[in-house]
Symmetry: C2
Subunit: 226 residues, 2 copies
């Protein structure tokens, strides 16, 4: 990879294969579908290989299914889209497979009550920081928190009109993830700070849910002046 | 005020006068300048009336200065733009003056170290929730967290290209503050959730600071699909 000249120059990531843990959930399926459309080989993982294969069958010829260990171990970059409940345990069980890799955490620790969504307290500060703590040999990046699964899965939506906020302490890794975000039509990947500032990005998903309720929308964010 | 038909219908707030506590800081001065340009009578407050008057003299004929008690007591709506350090004490000292009013908190509790900005832990959850706890008889709304003071004060910038995220539990109060945001050219006021979801909006200012450093920008947010 050549040296970056400006914050906007990004590496060529077109050849990278992707694994998606929790790939049978809506967020995981939506990302798998879009990355498959962009030409990436995608392996979605689940605790059951059979369920993963069934989900993959709906998502196009570039997407296959496997158990989580294969989806974590074989691809170049692995996206974590599991429910918050199983976040720590899933990552702990895949520590060896994920060693040395870029791991992209897009999990939002949220609770829900009759007033809507609210952020949960995470001992490590955020899901991304928990991933970094559990996976000391991986390169953890936070991204794709605000992407509407409904829009990702909607065949009538060609372009996703939002910016993906990318967080991490490893510059090369955040640039690769930013470049991956830009493989999906309409998206930009914007560096948005270190992992210690991931909590508020994850938690902001609760605000987007409030916005969606009030405006009957699928809201996302654009960063202005960049 | 007539009943709201859609989430986009907003009340007429053109006649409201504004007080700005901490009005001699850059954020306060910038908001005072823009609201003055929009035709509002603005009183900026400071512990010293003289300092407030000096600051007001630079900000146009609609802006005057006074001590904090006058800036809190006389105007229709009061914006809190004090440093986080003095937030609680200032509000406690003005509880009587602020009773019954809409109080707009735009304070971001942040710390800074060599890695940049990070959110501070606030006992009540957020500055806005602290304001609500200290001012039980006021109608507290969170807003204007992400507005660049530099752009507000720059005479060459006509329009502020960003959305103001407005948080609160009082629908009429958040609508009034949304309408006030829209008095400033380029801004939209977007309802973004209850006060319990204010923390991450305040904390996100740390991310904007990271973005500004990386991209040499004055970043703001736009909400898509609304």
């Amino acid at each position: 990879m050549t040296e970056q000249k400006t914050p906007y120059d990004l590496p060529d990531v077109s050849g990278l294969s992707l694994g998606i843990l929790g790939g049978t959930g809506d967020q995981g399926k939506g990302l798998a579908r879009r990355f498959g459309m962009a030409g990436h080989r995608v392996t979605i993982g689940s605790r059951s290989a059979e369920r993963a294969e069934q989900a993959a069958a709906e998502l196009g010829p570039s997407v296959c299914g496997a158990d989580n260990a294969v989806a974590a171990g074989e691809p170049d970059v692995v996206i974590v889209a599991v429910p918050w409940d199983g976040h720590r345990a899933t990552l702990e069980s895949l520590r060896a497979e994920l060693a040395g890799k870029i791991v992209v955490d897009c999990v939002n620790p949220l609770g829900f009550d009759k007033q809507g969504a609210y952020p949960l307290t995470v001992e490590e500060g955020s899901a991304a920081q928990q991933a970094a703590a559990v996976l000391p040999d991986s390169r953890v990046v936070g991204a794709f928190h605000h992407v509407s699964a409904k829009l990702l899965l909607n065949p009538e939506i060609d372009a996703m009109e939002l910016d993906v906020l990318v967080l991490g302490d490893d510059r090369e890794a955040t640039d690769i993830v930013r470049a991956l975000a830009e493989r999906i039509g309409g998206m930009r990947g914007i560096y948005a700070g270190r992992l210690r500032n991931a909590h508020q990005v994850e938690a902001f998903t609760a605000n987007l849910i409030s916005i969606n309720r009030r405006y009957k929308a699928h809201a996302g964010l654009r960063v202005t002046d960049v």
